[in-house]
C-alpha cells in the first residue's frame, strides 16, 4: 500500500497492465513524451518504449478509430481522450462502430478497447471543457462505462477495463487527479466492472454518487442528522441494480447526486429504475440532486455553485427527510432558471 495521487494510480494501473500483457498499448495526444496532459502516463514511454506508448496528431476520429482497428486485430489499446468533450468529434467510432463491432461480426471479434477521458467541472476550464457527458454514452448496448471516484477506484476500474474484452470508457474526474489516498495495487485490487461500492452505511436514505459526487455525498453524510447508505456506483454501464435496490429496500429513500444537468442527467436511469422496481419500498419521492440546466460557467464563484456541494446536498436531504417531499433545487428557490 502506498499513498498515491489519482494520476499516479492511473500510471500504476497502466504500467501493471502493460507489464502483464505485451499487447496493451497506450496512445493519445501528448501521452508519450510529455507523460500526458494530466501526467497520467508519466514514465510509460521510458519504461515501455516508443512502439507501445505513442503521441498522436490532433485527430480524435483518427486515433480512436485506430484504437478500434488495433483492438480487433490483437492489441489491447488504451486511448486517451484528453477532455470528454472531444468525443464530440469522434463519437461515431465508439458508439456506432466499437460498441456494435462484436455484434456485427457475429461474435467472431471482440473489442478490448479502453477509452480514458478526463471529465467534470471545478478547475475553471469553462463551458466547453468541464462537462461529464455520461449521457452521450448511455443507451449504447455493447459499451461499458466506469467512472473513477478517487485514486483507489481509478486504479481498480482501469485495470478491470483493460482486462475486459469489450469497449470500456473510463471517466476520470479532473479535479481528483491530485487527490491522495492509500492505494493497494496488484491483481487483488482490480475492481470488477458492474459492481457498486457501499462506502458508508446508514438507515435513513440511500445516496448514489458517481465520480466527484461520491466524495460530496460522503462529506454531506458525515455531519448530518440522518444516516445514509452511500453507494459509489463505480460502473454506470452496466450498473449494479442489486446493490442499489437492496439498499433502497432497507432505507425506503433514494437520492442520486449528479454533476450533470438536471434534465436528462445520468441519474434519471437510476431514479427511473428504482421508482419502477422498488415502488413498494419507497417511503419518499426519488430525488435527484443535480447541477442546473446551464453550460458550466467560468468564474470560480459560479462554478462552485454549479456543482452540488456537501452542504447543499445535506440540506436537500434534510428537506426530503423532514417534509417527505421533493426538495426544490436552489435555483428555483432563488427564482432563477427558466
Amino acid at each position: 500500500m502506498a499513498k498515491l495521487r489519482m494520476r499516479q494510480a492511473i500510471v500504476a494501473a497502466l504500467a501493471d497492465e502493460m507489464e502483464r500483457d505485451g499487447s496493451v498499448i497506450v496512445f493519445g495526444e501528448d501521452v508519450a513524451a510529455a507523460g500526458g496532459p494530466f501526467k497520467t502516463s508519466e514514465g510509460l514511454l521510458e519504461r515501455f518504449g516508443r512502439a507501445r506508448v505513442r503521441d498522436t496528431p490532433i485527430s480524435e476520429t483518427g486515433f480512436l478509430g485506430a484504437g478500434l482497428g488495433a483492438a480487433v486485430t490483437g492489441l489491447r489499446p488504451v486511448v486517451e481522450i484528453m477532455f470528454i468533450e472531444f468525443l464530440g468529434v469522434a463519437l461515431d467510432m465508439l458508439s456506432t462502430e466499437a460498441a456494435k463491432f462484436r455484434y456485427l461480426s457475429g461474435g467472431k471479434l471482440s473489442v478490448p478497447l479502453v477509452v480514458r477521458a478526463s471529465a467534470g467541472s471545478g478547475l475553471g476550464f469553462g463551458a466547453q471543457h468541464s462537462q461529464t457527458l455520461e449521457t452521450w454514452l448511455y443507451a449504447t448496448p455493447g459499451l461499458k462505462l466506469a467512472v473513477a471516484s478517487g485514486p483507489r477506484t481509478a486504479y481498480g476500474l482501469l485495470r478491470a477495463a483493460v482486462q475486459d474484452d469489450n469497449p470500456v470508457v473510463v471517466l476520470e474526474p479532473r479535479p481528483l487527479y491530485g487527490e491522495r489516498e492509500e492505494v493497494e495495487t496488484g491483481d487483488a485490487a482490480v475492481i470488477p466492472l458492474g459492481q457498486a461500492n457501499l462506502c458508508a452505511t446508514g438507515d435513513d436514505v440511500t445516496i448514489v454518487g458517481l465520480g466527484q459526487t461520491v466524495g460530496t455525498a460522503l462529506r454531506a453524510a458525515e455531519s448530518a442528522g440522518w444516516t445514509a447508505d452511500v453507494i459509489d456506483l463505480q460502473t454506470l454501464l452496466p450498473w449494479d441494480r442489486d446493490t442499489v435496490f437492496a439498499s433502497v429496500a432497507r432505507t425506503g429513500r433514494l437520492v442520486v447526486v449528479e454533476e450533470s444537468p438536471r434534465t436528462g442527467g445520468w441519474g434519471t436511469e437510476i431514479a427511473a429504475a428504482v421508482a419502477g422496481e422498488c415502488f413498494g419500498d419507497l417511503t419518499a419521492p426519488v430525488t435527484r440532486i443535480t447541477a442546473p440546466d446551464v453550460p458550466v460557467p467560468f468564474p470560480p464563484e459560479l462554478e462552485a455553485r454549479y456543482l452540488p456541494g456537501p452542504d447543499y446536498v445535506r440540506a436537500q436531504i434534510d428537506t426530503l427527510l423532514d417534509s417527505g417531499r421533493l426538495p426544490v433545487p436552489w435555483w428555483e428557490t432563488e427564482g432563477l432558471g427558466a
Partner: protein, 333 residues
C-alpha cells in the same frame, strides 16, 4: 475441408488469372440476382450493389493475402466475395438468415469474415479508414509483413476520417494501403459537385503518401498497381494511396434509378466493362477458349442459383440471436 480452409482456398485461387474472371462473373451474377430478389420482395431493407466495380475488388483481393486485414463499406458484396466469402455467406446476410456471414443480424451493409481478413463492413462513410490504420498498427507491432487495406469510395474522401486516417498512417509509417473506388458518384451527386479536384489521389500529397490514379476497369492493371504498392508497403515503406477509376452500373441503393447520370456516360463505361475486357483478353491470349468461357458462365449461374435455394432454406434467426454477441464474455486471464 473446413469452412476456413474453403475460404482460404477461394482466396488463394485468385492467383490464377482465369479464376479472377470467374470471381468477377460471380460478383456480377450475385449483384444482379440481389436486385432481382428485391423486386420479388425476398430481400428487405436496403442494399448497395457494385456491378461495374468487379475488377477493383478482385484485383485488390488477388494482390493481397488473407492475413492482411481489410476494411470496406456497405457496398461490400464484391469485396467480400473477392476476399473469399462464399455466395451463401454474403447472400445469407443480405437475406437475414442464420447462414449469413454474421448470422443474419447484420444485413446487406454488415459482412464480416476475419478468416480472410475482412472486418465488419462500415455503414458510416469513411469510418473504415482509421480502423484500417489501427489494423496496420497491429501489423507493425506484430512484426512480419502483413498489411492493412482500407477500401472506400470517392465521396468518402471529403469526410474528416479520411484526412485523419491518412495523416496518422503517414506519421506512424504504418503498413496500410488506401484504396479509393472512384465510381464517379457519392449517392446521387456526381463527384465534381462535391470534390474540387479531378483525381483524389492528389490528396496523398497532404500526407506525403505516395499516391496514384489507376484504371480500375482492367483487373490486370489493378493487380499490378496493388502488387507494386503492397511490395513497397511490406518492405516497410509506409502507407500508399491508390485511386481506381471505376463506375457503378446500378443506382446508389435499391431505390435509386440514377436519373442524374448524364446521357451517354453509362454507355462509355459499358464499353470498358471490366468483365468483357478481361474475357476478350484471356480469349485472345488463349488462356481461355470459348467453350471454357461458356462453362464458366454456366458454373457461376448454377452456383448462384444453388446459393439462392440454400439461403432460402436457411432459417431466420430466432429472437435469441439479437441478444447474442452484444458483449463478449469476460476472458479469464
Amino acid at each position: 475441408m473446413t469452412a476456413t480452409e474453403a475460404l482460404l482456398d477461394r482466396r488463394g485461387g485468385l492467383r490464377d488469372r482465369v479464376a479472377r474472371l470467374e470471381r468477377m462473373l460471380e460478383i456480377r451474377a450475385l449483384e444482379d440476382r440481389v436486385q432481382a430478389l428485391f423486386s420479388e420482395g425476398l430481400v428487405h431493407g436496403t442494399t448497395h450493389t457494385a456491378q461495374g466495380q468487379e475488377a477493383v475488388a478482385v484485383g485488390v483481393a488477388a494482390a493481397t493475402r488473407p492475413t492482411d486485414v481489410v476494411t470496406c463499406t456497405y457496398r461490400g458484396h464484391a469485396v467480400a466475395l473477392a476476399l473469399g466469402l462464399t455466395v451463401e455467406d454474403v447472400l445469407g446476410e443480405i437475406m437475414g438468415r442464420t447462414i449469413g456471414s454474421v448470422g443474419g443480424v447484420g444485413g446487406s451493409m454488415h459482412l464480416c469474415e476475419p478468416d480472410v481478413g475482412l472486418l465488419p463492413t462500415f455503414a458510416i462513410v469513411g469510418a473504415g479508414i482509421p480502423v484500417a490504420v489501427g489494423a496496420g498498427l497491429s501489423a507493425q507491432l506484430r512484426g512480419g509483413d502483413d498489411i492493412a487495406v482500407a477500401v472506400f469510395g470517392d465521396g468518402a474522401t471529403n469526410i474528416g476520417a479520411f484526412h485523419e486516417g491518412l495523416n496518422l498512417a503517414a506519421i506512424w509509417q504504418l503498413p496500410v494501403l488506401f484504396v479509393c473506388e472512384h465510381n464517379v458518384y457519392g449517392e446521387y451527386s456526381r463527384f465534381d459537385l462535391t470534390t474540387p479536384v479531378a483525381d483524389v489521389s492528389v490528396r496523398g500529397a497532404s500526407y506525403a503518401i505516395p499516391s496514384a490514379t489507376v484504371d480500375g476497369q482492367d483487373v490486370d492493371v489493378v493487380v499490378a498497381a496493388v502488387e507494386e504498392a503492397v511490395t513497397a508497403i511490406r518492405a516497410g515503406g509506409g502507407p500508399r494511396f491508390l485511386e481506381f477509376k471505376t463506375y457503378r452500373y446500378a443506382g446508389h441503393s435499391r431505390s435509386d434509378t440514377a436519373p442524374y447520370r448524364p446521357e451517354g456516360e453509362m454507355e462509355l463505361w459499358r464499353e470498358r466493362d471490366p468483365i468483357d475486357r478481361f474475357t476478350e483478353r484471356l480469349l485472345s491470349e488463349d488462356a481461355l477458349d470459348a467453350a471454357a468461357a461458356d462453362a464458366m458462365a454456366a458454373r457461376v449461374a448454377a452456383r448462384v442459383d444453388e446459393a439462392v435455394e440454400t439461403v432460402k432454406a436457411s432459417p431466420v434467426p430466432d429472437a435469441e440471436a439479437m441478444f447474442r454477441h452484444v458483449y463478449a464474455p469476460n476472458r479469464s486471464r
